[in-house]
Symmetry: C2
Subunit: 406 residues, 2 copies
Amino acid sequence: MPRSVAAHRQAVVELLTTARAAKGNLRLPLLEALGKALAGDVYAPLSLPPFPNSQMDGFAVRSAGIPDGGAELRVAAPVPAGASPASLKAGFAAPIMTGAMIPDGADAVVPIEKATPNTFPEPAAADALVRLPPVAPGTYVRHSGSDIETGDLALAAGTLLGPAQLGLLAALGLDLVEVREPFRVLLVTTGDEVVEPGQELAPGKIYDSNGTLLEASMRQAGMEVTRTGISDDNPDTLLSVLHRYTQDPRNPVDIIVTTGGVSKGAYEVVRQAMSGQAVDFLPVAMQPGGPQGLGTFDGTPFLGFPGNPVSCLVSFEMFLRPALSQVQGTPAPRPVQRARLAEPLTSPDGKHQVRRGSVGTDGILRMEGGAGSHLVHALARANALVQIPSDVTELAKGDEVEVWML
Amino acid sequence: MPRSVAAHRQAVVELLTTARAAKGNLRLPLLEALGKALAGDVYAPLSLPPFPNSQMDGFAVRSAGIPDGGAELRVAAPVPAGASPASLKAGFAAPIMTGAMIPDGADAVVPIEKATPNTFPEPAAADALVRLPPVAPGTYVRHSGSDIETGDLALAAGTLLGPAQLGLLAALGLDLVEVREPFRVLLVTTGDEVVEPGQELAPGKIYDSNGTLLEASMRQAGMEVTRTGISDDNPDTLLSVLHRYTQDPRNPVDIIVTTGGVSKGAYEVVRQAMSGQAVDFLPVAMQPGGPQGLGTFDGTPFLGFPGNPVSCLVSFEMFLRPALSQVQGTPAPRPVQRARLAEPLTSPDGKHQVRRGSVGTDGILRMEGGAGSHLVHALARANALVQIPSDVTELAKGDEVEVWML
């Protein structure tokens, strides 16, 4: 009986968990960590804000010093952002800029608009006076630690580091961050029929799109990719390629991914090359991308994807990418939405079908091409993978389906 | 009257359109074009599939040669993928593998499972026979051009090149692609109070998170970023930094972005430095990120963002990023969803409020932190920007709001 999509994904998670256990961490400048996953919990080395500061341009005051009817106060030296002001004396109000430190003795800010006069006096003006209304303590004060307190958890291990997370680390004064070392993948496309783009195309041959499609997907997912070039349908060729790369200590391989040669035909190069290795070839109850290989080659985690480009992309998106998100923390999972079908659909019983479609701004889902796994032009127009569970065989126009946004 | 969000975004679009007109294109290997935008329309130099091929492992036959009751046929030489087979003679069936070229004279494939015997004979077996059921013409044949025909539009100018689009170009045999040259941005953070992460923090000072946050955002959006380091609150310092970088012919600048110094306070370094330049400082009816500068500095497009980190991120996401998507073709627009509020919200009348929140797998939106534009820890927990239109002042728990997924 074919394996379910969930069971096969779990098997890929376990394979990556093993691979992850053998990997280390890297200490990187913040910007080099963009898109990588945090290695360990980070605790705040300081509070944010580090000191109480003003949320407005205005006057810093002691609120208790202004009675209900307001008060006329003497104008103290102005407090620009970045300054460490003197304590505020009783009877004074200090002009203060947004972000500037609240002086000791002050506990509230009156915005400049509410002052009389409603402009700041010239800094040189001695003995200037300002009339201010009463104000509740804490008004327009950003308290120290109101965003995060010293010692609190800032970011948890495994957090994917995007702009906001790196911005937080910078705000905390950190210029280096420890991230999980990316997985290094060895990517081998196979097939006598496959030719590198840019070369001459003899009759019966096709250009290799799997290598480009998967390398791009893997790079976006944070993997480091080594390509071997195309391996032909002779198992000995494939074995010698795999041995050459996996035995090179200068360029260690964490995961091998092959494309093609995993079905039940007469010439299945990956199946043949893996005989004697701890690799299972099995049907997953999914269309496209049903035939899958999974195991280890000489101890290195191994995934064998099928040979059609849409099958490759679906295999990556359904198995490897979610497993990377879960085990490595990068990439972010695909956003999941629900969308309404613009047209009826049928799907084979007992197979989870993954179709390609485009969700418009109206939330309506239009199919891109048919079910065929060779339709790479249709794939290039799609913005979503359409998930049709294995027990669903018919859907009507207007029915809601789950889509994964690409 | 403050400018609307839409009107300011349109002004940024116009600024970038001018900048775009001065830029060229680059011809790159496919993988280097990942995440960039196609410069011109690409038409298919060949059809996909390039030749009719088999969708199954089975026997290629002439359908007219098998009567209703089936037929016993002689087994021809097998056709592996990649081969250019001889024509099929009458009375023969050719073993054919998935993806292999349909021989001249054949017009359908009978899957191996329906053959008797249901395995392929040894290639050396002469005079082997196979019994096959009748089959309709075209069965399990992928016709040449069924995905795309020679000369058809494959990808339109401006298409963002992701894995599927690069895979299509590879399938079409292209190894180079012409993309729009990325924008080069000069990023200047300003403020006497701001210190580089990793340095000592004196009282009253804060660490610069804007530089990291915006550089990361801009890189993800496909921009090339030059950082000047922090410029202090002296307008002459800022002017000399801007002159030094914009007059360096080795490193031309397409767009200048500054942070801070655009409000109405007493020390607004960017406003002061831009006096005499064609730069407008204006309120946009948005919170946070209301004060904005926009124009040209010595002819170079200029954007002045406010100084708080959340304001910077919101300015980038609401104005620069969508304008880049529209004008440059990269990055992809943020996915827009609707989500239900976990809690009631209030919002100021007449201002489009952008709050930060997390949409759970249950579709429920929880706020991350309050409205304060300094809450960078809360920002780092959010996965969505919550869009509250300017005419909405109150929302109840369970109300639906628009969110942009980060």
